[in-house]
Symmetry: none
């Protein structure tokens, strides 16, 4: 991040609004006559904005790399995801509002169903309702408070999902996951990836065994699978780095977690995008930079549901006038990665972005689509180069050299 | 610079002419119906050339970085400005023809007006005429020749501006400027940025005090402000690096300085672009590579004068036939950065470039504008990658590997 390294960032009285549609990018689909999701969608507001903005394509991490949402967002926030790997356990724990110490090891957990021989029957324990998952998490938390001097902190997330934090000295996140990603076999042993991780692996193994003991009479939620073991990385906080007060608005834990890792404020507890927008409007005067997250495009893409993704894009489009009504000095719309419905998963394809602002540049794009963005003035950039462009557009940079 | 690192540069009997229009890139302007300066200008010669050339856009330093003219030019000459920072004092001193030793510390100076309490009344001493600035510089030079074993060398530049070189051992350029950038306060102390710079700071401070003593009876030019303290960086000389005899033709000190830093010959003392072109014609047979500089586009941009910038572009265009008449094997037109009249300052926006030559490439651009250059064959490149393209186009490179 050259602007930060060379001390070229300045404060200014401008506001930046970053609207991320998760998994935005798509691929031509035969059911839509070869159109992508963005092309098939009716998006009058985004297209109107495109005419006044400068477009381009971002390469999320590197050519050919399909990023997870963590690296995808880190990059957009200007933190190189190849240098700063943040574990899923950390992201999810922060996302559900847990405070993490530097020495903590955090992990994501699934309740699973084991048969009498200890083999996995269902990796998601029949997708229990929230109340059920919460009840069993609390049952575990009540009994297992400490192992070998390491404090065990549990928190339910949703359905069969929970997070667990191992708090103690001398722990490492270099432990392999215990989910074999298949049924008919027992959970895996948490193998330490190096000598330093032996203590953590032992504690984790004891925790898993104790948990199975505590849950042995549960009909469905009688085992656990852990993954994403990780510790908090040190990252220069967003406010220090960019000299902006930054706020994140996201309904999903993961994205709230990413924001917390980089030290952004995370606003409220929205459950829908409508609630996210309300939060944005409510807190508009309090921050310089807002990240607002729209998850539903990614979900539809992952479900291979082309037309649902189209509808979600159209729904996102319908909120654009409300976002623009706040009069951000710089408004940027993009995605953290592509999730083409044709593929049904995250992909490596460049993602369109557009920057609206008084000095965005000479452009002639008419719509906000992948094919139009190819011709955008900013061309293809790395996702980590988006923040410098947003800062420059917002008049928040100084000249480099004489 | 891979061509140099891999020893792939060869001599050849070809000539390269690089025409830099300072601050060339622009932004759509409401007064011109959304056209940029280049689009609004009537440039038959550049457009004719564009049809036979290959276009592209250069990113001067990095995305979102607005470069000074020093880094902007260094990059175009293939020297990474992020690795080689060259101070303004050095550039300006070299630019006015001073020879610098490696151990010298150079600075830019302004005469200012101080009131009886020593507070700054006018940071530019009422913009005195050249004669006045020269007279006072000479008065200083006559009295202050040495401080603590350090030789003081002064030279007048223009109006209220001069340069000072501190020649002695153990000096560092890591000293903060003394210009507070405001009136009503006294000049700042030249604070050393580290222990190594203490000696330099002390000498500089004594120099400032002596100067005020010498100038105390001057009505207007009775104080000095110093900035851009710097030492010569070591850079591989242009001739060694590129195996070409390179010459620079520029009227302004700064650009002459940049050329000297990288060891190019600086021709004559032109005062106008017309004189620059005459020098070029006169010395055409003596060099392999010429850099000719057109300053006036940047000045108009900085003054927010859209139509003057348009006219300056048109004036530059009118010289193109004379430049082409010299029959350069490779002719390149570009800018060191953008200076959109809309912004009134250097900006981060990519700058169009075009390369004319028999092997430039397949292209279909019809005009030399930002929007056309988007579609150019060379796409978007970093400014430091321009020289390799010029060398290759001039048949001055060898194949890499078998």
């Amino acid at each position: 991040m050259i602007l930060a390294e060379k001390d070229l960032i300045r404060r200014a009285d401008t506001k930046i609004l970053l609207f991320i549609l998760d998994g935005l990018g798509g691929l031509p689909h035969p059911d839509a006559g070869g159109k992508t999701e963005l092309e098939a969608a009716n998006t009058p507001n985004l297209d109107e904005l495109a005419k006044k903005s400068v477009l381009g394509l971002i390469i999320p991490v590197a050519q050919g790399v399909s990023p997870g949402s963590g690296p995808g967002h880190m990059a957009i926030f200007g933190y190189d995801p190849l240098k700063h790997e943040v574990g899923r356990g950390v992201l999810e724990s922060l996302g559900v509002g847990m405070e993490l110490l530097e020495s903590d090891v955090a992990a994501r957990g699934n309740f699973c169903t084991l048969d009498s021989e200890g083999n996995i029957v269902d990796r998601r324990a029949g997708r229990p309702p929230d109340e059920e998952g919460r009840r069993v998490t609390e049952k575990l938390a009540e009994v297992i408070k400490e192992i070998d001097g390491v404090q065990i902190i549990l928190k339910h997330v949703k359905g069969h999902r929970f997070v667990v934090v191992f708090r103690g000295e001398g722990l490492s996140g270099d432990v392999m996951e215990t989910d074999p990603q298949q049924t008919g076999v027992p959970p895996l042993f948490p193998i330490p990836k190096n000598r330093e991780a032996e203590r953590a692996a032992r504690v984790i193994w004891k925790f898993i065994q104790k948990a199975q003991e505590v849950l042995k009479d549960e009909p469905k939620l009688n085992g656990i699978l852990l993954r994403g073991f990780s510790r908090m990385p040190y990252l220069q906080p967003f406010g220090d780095r960019y000299k902006m007060r930054g706020a994140a608005i996201a309904a999903y834990p993961m994205y709230r977690g990413v924001a917390r890792v980089i030290g952004m404020d995370v606003l409220g507890n929205p459950e829908t995008f409508e609630e996210e927008v309300e939060l944005l409007e409510k807190h508009w005067d309090e921050y310089d930079f807002f990240f607002i997250h729209f998850k539903y495009t990614d979900e539809a893409g992952e479900d291979k549901d082309f037309w649902r993704k189209v509808r979600e894009i159209e729904r996102a489009d319908s909120f654009v006038p409300r976002l623009m009504a706040l009069k951000p000095d710089v408004f940027c719309v993009t995605g953290d990665h592509s999730t083409p419905a044709l593929l049904g998963k995250h992909s490596w394809h460049p993602v369109p972005f557009m920057i609206y602002g008084p000095y965005a540049g000479p452009d002639d794009c008419k719509k906000f689509t992948e094919r139009e963005a190819k011709h955008g003035y900013y061309g293809r950039i790395k996702a980590v180069d988006l923040m410098p462009l947003l800062l420059a557009n917002a008049g928040r940079t100084a000249k480099y050299g004489a």
